[in-house]
């Protein structure tokens, strides 16, 4: 009861406030965009060169009307919240009148599954390797590992992804060139489908892991080095506790700060996916977000950002609420 009142409830309040501010900011900023979504639609129509100039102007007006872009920004803002609370993010402007929810819903599972898995795997791998590298810092493999990971860390994502593709999809055609699953395969629990999903997701996941591992590795290495001089580790080592146990101690005790970091880096799931999805033609949200920005499709940009904000804030919330399980010191006090 006390935990609920003093810990969970205030966290929930904070969660709400963070989402409120974050969402408001993302509502306002896209409106400074130089691109008017109606003009985008009109421009694409203009390139078809069949419609009469007068007819075009008429169409433009009726589109603006239908999208509600003629209204005062405050009215738009309040309407936005009204709709959001009902779970409606409005229509996509560039794909008018398809609801944003539907656009996001289509792509979301892909992004979430690929990036969540890749991010978490990258995080885990970074942590495990970082812990090992710090614990065995005098070993030569540890030094080589460090150099390799550090050299990979700054490689621009696009370049890394393309190199992977060229090697593993073209020179050695092991992995497919595009897509999230084989052509014609319908979502099911069949082995075939699952294998196809894994196969298609493999290179994108590897590229994300390769890029994200660097930072995690380095921070975990630093964290572990500090932990190594902490009393309880030193004591356990003096007592001859087995290496794997010590490694586990190190891992377990760095979990807390790293988990917080992970929660906040979950935001990258939506935005970090962008280049991956472009290069691998992966069916996720990132590319949709990018084109939405270019098309001035505020509703979609806001929609994805709101999802991202809620996702990250919730991720942070969950991790905060999980703290008691990660850190026994909180659980019982």
């Amino acid at each position: 009861m006390n935990l609920l009142k003093s810990y969970i409830f205030p966290r929930l309040v904070q969660w709400v406030i963070v989402i409120l501010i974050g969402t408001t900011v993302t509502f306002i900023i896209p409106r400074f965009s130089p691109v008017n979504p109606v003009d985008v639609v009109m421009a694409s129509l203009a390139s078809y060169q069949t419609t009469d100039p007068q007819a075009m102007l008429k169409l433009k007006e009726s589109l603006e009307d239908m999208m509600g872009l003629n209204e005062n920004i405050f009215v738009q803002y309040f309407k936005f919240w009204g709709r959001l609370l009902k779970g409606d993010l409005g229509p996509s402007l560039a794909r008018f009148p398809i609801p944003v929810i539907r656009v996001i819903g289509n792509a979301m599972p892909w992004t979430i599954s690929l990036l969540l898995i890749a991010t978490i795997l990258g995080w885990l791998l970074g942590m495990v390797l970082g812990t090992f590298a710090a614990y065995y810092s005098h070993k030569s493999w540890s030094k080589i590992l460090q150099v390799v990971i550090m050299a990979l860390y700054p490689v621009p994502y696009y370049v890394m992804a393309l190199i992977l593709l060229m090697i593993f999809a073209y020179i050695f055609p092991i992995f497919p060139l595009f897509g999230g699953v084989g052509i014609g395969l319908k979502p099911s629990l069949s082995l075939n489908f699952i294998l196809s999903v894994i196969k298609h997701g493999f290179l994108p996941a590897v590229s994300i892991i390769l890029v994200s591992i660097g930072w995690r590795f380095m921070s975990q290495r630093a964290l572990t080095s500090t932990l190594l001089s902490s009393d309880f580790i030193v004591y356990a080592r003096i007592a001859g506790v087995r290496n794997r146990k010590i490694l586990f101690y190190l891992f377990r005790n760095s979990l807390l700060p790293q988990a917080t970091d992970l929660a906040l880096s979950l935001g990258g799931i939506f935005s970090g996916a962008l280049i991956t999805e472009v290069v691998f033609s992966y069916p996720g949200l990132g590319q949709i977000l990018y084109s939405a920005i270019l098309q001035g499709d505020y509703n979609l940009v806001i929609g994805i950002s709101v999802f991202s904000i809620i996702g990250v804030a919730t991720g942070a919330l969950i991790i905060d609420l999980l703290y008691p399980f990660l850190d026994p010191r909180i659980r019982y006090s």
Binding site: I17, T26, M150, A151, P154, L264, G267
Partner: protein
Amino acid sequence: MKIIKDLFKYDKRFSVGFIFVVLILFMAILSFFPPYDPTIPHTFPRDLSPSLKHILGTNSLGQDIFWILTIAVRNSLIIGGISAVISRTLAILIGSLAGYLGGRVDRVISTVCDSFVVIPRLPLLILFAFIFRGFLNPLSMAILLGFLDWAWPSKRYRSQILSLKESEFTNTARFSGAYTLEIIAEEHMPFLLSYVVADSISGFIWAIGMETSLSVLGLFDLSIPTLGTTIYWANYYKSMLLGIWWWIGSPVGALIITVIGLYLLSVGLGDFLDPKVRLQRLSK
């Protein structure tokens, strides 16, 4: 100077980082003394592989890659440097404001910080880049990046300052009649220094990385050579597909050298400026 010499002598990481950074800085300085305007296309035959005449070869535009790269490195360093200065200044200001004032101010600032941490930055950046497209140059890019990268570090500065605020010597200073500002400047800053240095360099690296991402997406002013736009052009002319590895390889290599150099430098400097280590050196 002696410090650098000492560091160089006793810290292998620092010396490697230092050599890398000096190399990069040297390139950046060289950019002011090109033998010809390297941005003019068709000065040389196209797609020459590296040779003594063209250290890094020429690209499909008939430019010497090395001299283009010197400008690119310079601009990227400008972007990273200015952005880091802006973001860390903001972060220190905001973080210390929250830390020192405490109470309600702290709560408000912290919540705002949290909110900004949660907002996805890359889309925001793409959007801004998009809005300010015509006005983008290394300086404005640096400012933009700087203003997007304060939330995280300011949270960290806040917690650092909170713990410093609790330290005994803060009390001593207060009872020696020092005002808060004096305490911050004289007592706390020396302690924050190593952290600020390491953190600024990580901000530097972030900014360079972001610039690269944006440029690779083609959202920066493509006529300004930066590491990112150089990669963009190499990509645009399909250097990988055509096997002109020296074109795509040069900016990527420069990026790796810059980032690793800066990182090692930050680790070395951070350790060196660490109060514990400084104490050792202060002893007689």
